[in-house]
Amino acid sequence: MRTWRIWLAVPVSLLCAAAVAACGSSSSSSSTSSTPASSSTSTTAAPSANAAVAKLVPAAIKSKGTLTVAADATYAPNEFIAPDGHTVIGMDADLSNALAGVMGLKATISNVKFDAIIPGLAAGKYDMGASSFTDTKVREKTVDFVDYFVAGESFYTKAQGGTTISGIAALCGHTVAVETTTTEQTDAQTQSATCKKAGKPAVTVLVLGDQNAANLAVASGRAQLGFADTPVAAYQVKKTNGQFKLVGQTFSAAPYGLALPKKSGMAPAVLAALKVLMSNGTYTSILTKWGVQSGAIPVSGVKINGAIS
């Protein structure tokens, strides 16, 4: 009678120990999912606060002390997951940390699925979206943008046996893989309509959940071409050591914007913080670190809601 109680004590005590251990350790694991976010703090040191900029930060966020940033970490080198498996790193991550530091805040960067970021900002779930957002007039209806970078869109294909095209106009009749709700998806679908109107075969647009899946589509030949922002495509080509190559002309250079909720009052603070980073050289060093300095913009290019299309 007594023996079964002893045996029961073993698993129960193991469970208690496990529960205590789980509570004690940090619970940061990222996963790409439709709406929930998972936090992971970046490890790069943030610059010291600038008093003038910190004054511009709205009271609600200043009292919180943290800047909640959302990024879809499947877009190297702008935002992707570090080898540790959960920290978001990249150009946008470093920039977010630097901006937060100047504003006297601490940035918490969460890995959120791309199509959930803007709705999340509108719902007040995040303070800023730093995920290589192209500043477009359509998006400006829902969020405000502080422009900080310029990038075009590029095609890439398999190095061996890939399809070469001259540019987006030659896309008719081809299959292209894009990430869902990106400007590349819109541009590819618009081009398909243009092709059909000209009597040419339509473009087959394969819309995948994230950029990793899109890359897999190109690697497996499911799609002939991939279509992503130029720094991302270029990084992909560099990192896969000859598996992919860039093809065709870069399409439509457009500004990247940091997305901010419309009535948050954050835009002037972020704008001022960005100008500080540009003046003290942090901006250039971050871009150079990730090899995307070709997309740098001058101070005059930093503006709120500067969409060109």
């Binding site: 394969l206 819309v207 499911r222």
Partner: protein, 306 residues
């Protein structure tokens, strides 16, 4: 015997006035549940944040309807593949041949042990592993060379992923049905001279259907929702269409409600289908009296039918 007793007729017993047991607390409990339900309905209906106007606008949108049809199509085909495969695997599992039964076990173990999402990814991007499919002599020359991406299209990847996965789960359900049939049936069939295949087909499986059907109905309802995973590989099912709409309009919650309403509607239709199927296969089994709602309420009526 005294004369007085003979003169008095023994009093006839009164008619028994049988009254069902009064259960007043039933009415109280019912009232409480109804009040709670009504409050929830009112709260949901009047909450502006649901944007019911947007829900109404997109509920019968052509893209959404397209997605609904795609979901139904995928569910139907995947369940057919899954059921056929399940029966085959279950019968293989029961085989006295250890290699055949082991092979079936291995299939079930692998396809139940890996996530459905990963399986879908595998079939969709199979050309990254096998760019061509060669058919010929095993370990020898091959005669037919096919391009994986042409043979396994996006649709093919979707139904392969869903169907093969479902086959593994159905195999266990069918196996449960088979072992639920009394061994005496098999023995009687064998004593009559029926072959193993005939026994399985004519005697065991028809009786096993009664036990196989409720979990299969469950699996079909699950499959209706599992098809939403194909949205990640880019197949245009209901969830994908809804995601594309809210990707452009940023009205995430109302559109997810649209998708939920449709999934609920499709699931409810499956309930009805399952009820009729179970009734047909359960003929001659249940002795329980089918009590009407009123009889149950008032305390009369026997066991409730499943």
């Amino acid at each position: 015997m005294s004369t007085s007793e003979r003169a008095q007729e023994p009093k006839r017993p009164e008619d028994i006035e049988a009254v069902p047991v009064r259960r007043p607390w039933r009415w109280v409990a019912a009232a409480i549940v109804l009040v709670i339900a009504a409050s929830i309905v009112r709260s949901v209906a009047t909450n502006r944040n649901f944007h019911w106007d947007v829900v109404g606008h997109y509920l019968f949108d052509s893209r959404v309807l397209h997605g609904v049809l795609a979901t139904l199509y995928l569910t139907a085909i995947a369940m057919v593949i899954g059921t056929v495969l399940g029966v085959l695997l279950a019968v293989m599992r029961r085989s006295p041949n250890p290699i055949v039964s082991g092979g079936s076990w291995l299939y079930i173990w692998f396809f139940r042990g890996t996530p459905l999402l990963v399986q879908l990814f595998f079939w969709e991007f199979i050309a990254a592993l096998y760019s061509t499919i060669d058919i010929g002599v095993p370990f020898g020359p091959s005669f037919i060379h096919l391009h994986s991406n042409s043979v396994i299209t996006l649709f093919g990847a979707a139904i392969l992923g869903l169907g093969l996965n479902e086959g593994a789960y159905m195999a266990e359900i069918v196996r449960a049905g088979i072992i639920s049939v009394d061994e005496g049936q098999t023995e009687a069939a064998q004593s009559l001279g029926l072959s193993r295949l005939q026994t399985m087909r004519r005697i065991v499986l028809p009786q096993a259907m009664r036990v196989i059907l409720p979990p299969t109905g469950n699996e079909t309802i699950s499959m209706l929702k599992n098809t939403s995973l194909v949205s990640v590989i880019g197949y245009a099912d209901l969830l994908f269409e809804v995601q594309q709409i809210y990707g452009a309009t940023y009205q995430t919650i109302p559109l997810l409600i649209v998708a939920s309403i449709w999934y609920l509607a499709l699931t409810s239709v499956a309930y009805v289908g399952q009820y009729f199927l179970e009734r047909r296969f359960g003929r001659g089994f249940s002795r329980a009296e089918r009590a009407t709602m009123r009889a149950r309420w008032l305390g009369r009526g026997g066991v409730t039918a499943g």
